[in-house]
């Protein structure tokens, strides 16, 4: 990446802040939505398990998208 932005350029830190949060939040939201759904429908662990798997997949998909963008820009 050509660096013409001077001393304020912090793309590396920005990327680091993004990727960590992405996985955690996606998994938590997936599990949480599943848990709430379970409580209403009475299908105890199943919706939560599906939600967690979906959340992990979504988190990885978002990370993959970021990395693709970084490669495209180079």
């Amino acid at each position: 990446m050509t660096n013409e932005r001077g001393p304020f350029s912090a793309p590396g830190l920005g990327v680091a802040m993004r990727i960590g949060m992405e996985l955690v939040v996606a998994t938590t939201v997936g599990g949480g939505v599943g848990l709430v759904g379970d409580r209403y429908l009475g299908t105890q662990p199943w919706l939560m398990l599906v939600g967690i798997v979906l959340g992990v997949a979504a988190g990885f998909r978002n990370i993959q998208r970021y990395i693709q963008q970084m490669q495209d820009r180079d």
């Binding site: 304020f8 830190l13 993004r18 939040v25 997936g30 959340g55 997949a57």
Partner: protein, 241 residues
């Protein structure tokens, strides 16, 4: 010792009740008004003289705008310049909220998940509106990544819809969690300093000084990250892989 979450509590300063909603003026609202005035003053004073050879203050304002412009050009491209005023507003509002929160005795507006959540939702709805504006109904292709076998398509669409839904939440939680956590750690160390008294209190105090500088950095980084991610979402809506 005071609870470390004590200074995140909101107190009603002027109670207002309208149509059954609680619209009271609390510290957060007051701080937001202050921030709005401060940002407005920053730009009005910075662009008042318009010298060809900028003064120091005008230089700061110009450099900040040029820096954001370069960020927009890098992530979205020429078409993104339409959004530059919006992104500049967003950046400076969040930055000033973060910085004002560091003044002792004030309130950090961005430590309320409600505030960051509304920002994130606004950004996300905007990116969807922009996507439909540029591509019409074809924007729905964003939920169906190219090059996926037909057999896997339903699962991929499900994952894609979910990953799109999660993104505004991560945007909101990132800003809110960073601000809340930093202030909580600082208040714990300040509390320890008071408890420690004169003999041992200098030790936690020595920690708070670099911590405060770190928080200053985090205030800038988080405002920048929020705007860069907004650029990324807008860029995806405009270019549609």
């Amino acid at each position: 010792m005071e609870s470390p979450v004590h200074h995140f509590e909101l107190h009603r300063l002027i109670p207002i009740e309208l149509f059954g909603f609680d619209l009271s003026i609390n510290q957060a609202v007051l701080m937001m008004w202050l921030v709005v005035v401060a940002v407005a003053l920053f730009f009005i004073l910075g662009s008042r003289q318009r010298l060809l050879v900028p003064s120091k203050f005008q230089g700061i304002v110009e450099y900040a705008v040029i820096f954001l412009r370069q960020t927009v050009l890098d992530t979205i491209g020429q078409r993104g310049l339409v959004f530059l005023p919006f992104l500049t507003t967003l950046f400076f509002f969040i930055l000033f909220c973060n910085l004002f929160g560091l003044v002792p005795g004030s309130y950090t507006v961005t430590s309320q998940v409600m505030v960051t959540g509304v920002f994130a939702l606004l950004v996300y709805l905007l990116s969807f509106a922009v996507g439909f504006w540029y591509h019409g109904i074809g924007f729905l292709k964003v939920f169906a990544p190219p090059g996926v076998p037909a057999l896997l398509m339903p699962a991929m669409v499900l994952i894609e819809v979910f990953s799109q839904t999660v993104r505004p939440i991560t945007l909101a939680v990132r800003l809110f969690a960073n601000m809340t956590a930093g202030h909580m750690v600082m208040s714990v160390f300040f509390g320890l300093m008071i408890m420690g008294g004169i003999w041992i209190g200098w030790l936690p105090f020595a920690v708070t000084v670099p911590l405060y500088l770190l928080e200053l950095l985090v205030a800038f980084i988080q405002a920048y990250v929020f705007v860069v991610l907004t650029c990324v979402y807008l860029s995806e809506a405009i270019h549609l892989h």
